[in-house]
Amino acid sequence: MTLNDSVRIPDQVATRKIGDETILLNLVTGTYFGLDAVGSRFLELLEQSGELAAAHRAMLEEFDVAPEVLEADLLRLSEELYAKGLLEAGS
């Protein structure tokens, strides 16, 4: 996975925002996953654009973090969500 990838939240995934955090549920596998405030913001940006690069750019402006550190964190989280069926390749 790279920042050039497009992703989307599959139709079979339900999300609920609790305060500044988010819970995702894969309705097919029954898998639950919790995201902290930073992860929730990332998901919010993905829902808006579907572009990892766009989410990366936006978060660089919002958080005090080095680009390469943020990129590694976002890709790791994306791969984890992908593996659990909570994210899929976008068009």
């Binding site: 079979q12 339900a14 609920r16 609790i18 305060g19 955090e21 988010t22 819970i23 549920l25 309705l27 097919v28 029954g30 639950y32 919790g34 995201l35 902290d36």
Partner: protein, 326 residues
């Protein structure tokens, strides 16, 4: 033609072709579910789509091996629950009928335990808003629940509170309903299941008890004079998740995300592959978490420390200003 008995469990009126002495009698006219104990026999040869299982490690109650001790399958017209070494329970898709065909040699006490403490909670998970693996007691601030894995001390803690006058609401199957602008806890049925040492330490060595099942040394204690039992539904106030053993008693408020993840883990669910049900349960858990706070309680797992644990929980409730507002 055979006699039909009627009982109440978690507000469900159940008719049965066999006596269920653990339950309070009810009027059969209001029956919502029918249980039938069939003659012992070999496992069903029906075409089964197995879709889920519980392992012995998750249950913690069985002592032999680490096989799947309960397998969940779909069959024509409903579900098949196969208990290792004990037998099959058939639950109709509409949860109106439960049939049990025990394996030859399975004692009736074991069948009753599986019915009351495993199958009925799963059946209720389809009929109620939410059913938790939790013990619960009624305090003067309302009902509080102790949620945790088997072996973490749910029943011990509940029995300890009950011994001091807080009526038992549930031993391991807590039904919660959203009503009257809040949440209500529905009493399950009288009694707790305790290890013999717990009976000795928390109650008295000569406290009368009965068998739970042939495969466990746990004892069933159902004398409401020894452990008072809640007379009816009561407002539900707090969730306490039993955390790991600790040197001191501490109560830590959980972030809603952690509460939701924990609740999902401890909610009964007959069909974990039913997307419509999962979405409904997800919404229920989120709502419950928004309205009832969850806390982790860390405490020493020593019988001698139980009074201190009780005191810490009651003090926490006393000092919780949100409770006053409710």
């Amino acid at each position: 033609m055979s006699l039909i008995y009627a009982y109440r469990i978690c507000d469900l009126v159940l008719t049965s072709n066999t006596v269920l002495p653990e339950l309070a009698p009810a009027n059969a006219l209001g029956a919502q579910c029918r249980f039938e104990l069939l003659p012992a026999g070999n496992p069903s040869a029906a075409d089964v789509d197995w879709f889920h299982h519980w392992t012995i490690e998750e249950d913690g109650e069985a002592e032999a091996g680490k096989e799947a001790w309960l397998r969940f399958g779909r069959i024509a017209g409903g579900y098949l629950l196969r208990f290792l070494w004990c037998g099959d329970f058939f639950v109709s898709a509409d949860t109106l009928k439960i049939h049990c065909r025990p394996l030859p040699g399975t004692p009736e006490v074991t069948v009753r335990h599986l019915l009351l403490d495993q199958v009925i909670p799963l059946v209720l998970s389809r009929r109620e808003r939410i059913v938790l693996h939790a013990s619960a007691v009624l305090t003067r601030h309302g009902v509080i629940a102790f949620v945790g894995k088997s072996g973490q001390g749910k029943s011990t803690l509940a029995a300890s509170f009950a011994r001091e006058g807080c009526a038992l609401v549930s031993d391991d199957c807590l039904v919660l309903r959203a009503e009257h602008g809040g949440w209500t806890a529905i009493p399950s049925y009288p009694g707790v299941r305790l290890w013999p040492l717990t009976v000795e330490e928390v109650l008295r060595e000569d406290t009368p008890t009965g068998d739970v099942a042939h495969y466990t040394i746990k004892r069933r204690l159902e004398d409401t004079k020894v452990l008072p039992y809640a007379s009816g539904p009561a407002p539900f106030r707090r969730l306490f998740f039993l955390a790991d053993d600790a040197v001191e008693v501490t109560v830590e408020k959980l972030h809603p995300r952690r509460t939701i993840m924990a609740l999902v883990e401890f909610a009964y669910n007959l069909d974990v592959k039913d997307a419509v049900f999962l979405r409904r349960q997800f919404d229920t858990v989120v709502r419950l978490t928004e309205e009832v706070p969850g806390y982790a309680i860390h405490y020493p797992r020593e019988f001698a420390e139980l009074p201190a644990v009780r005191e810490a929980i009651l003090r926490h409730l006393e000092e919780d200003r949100d409770l006053d507002a409710e």
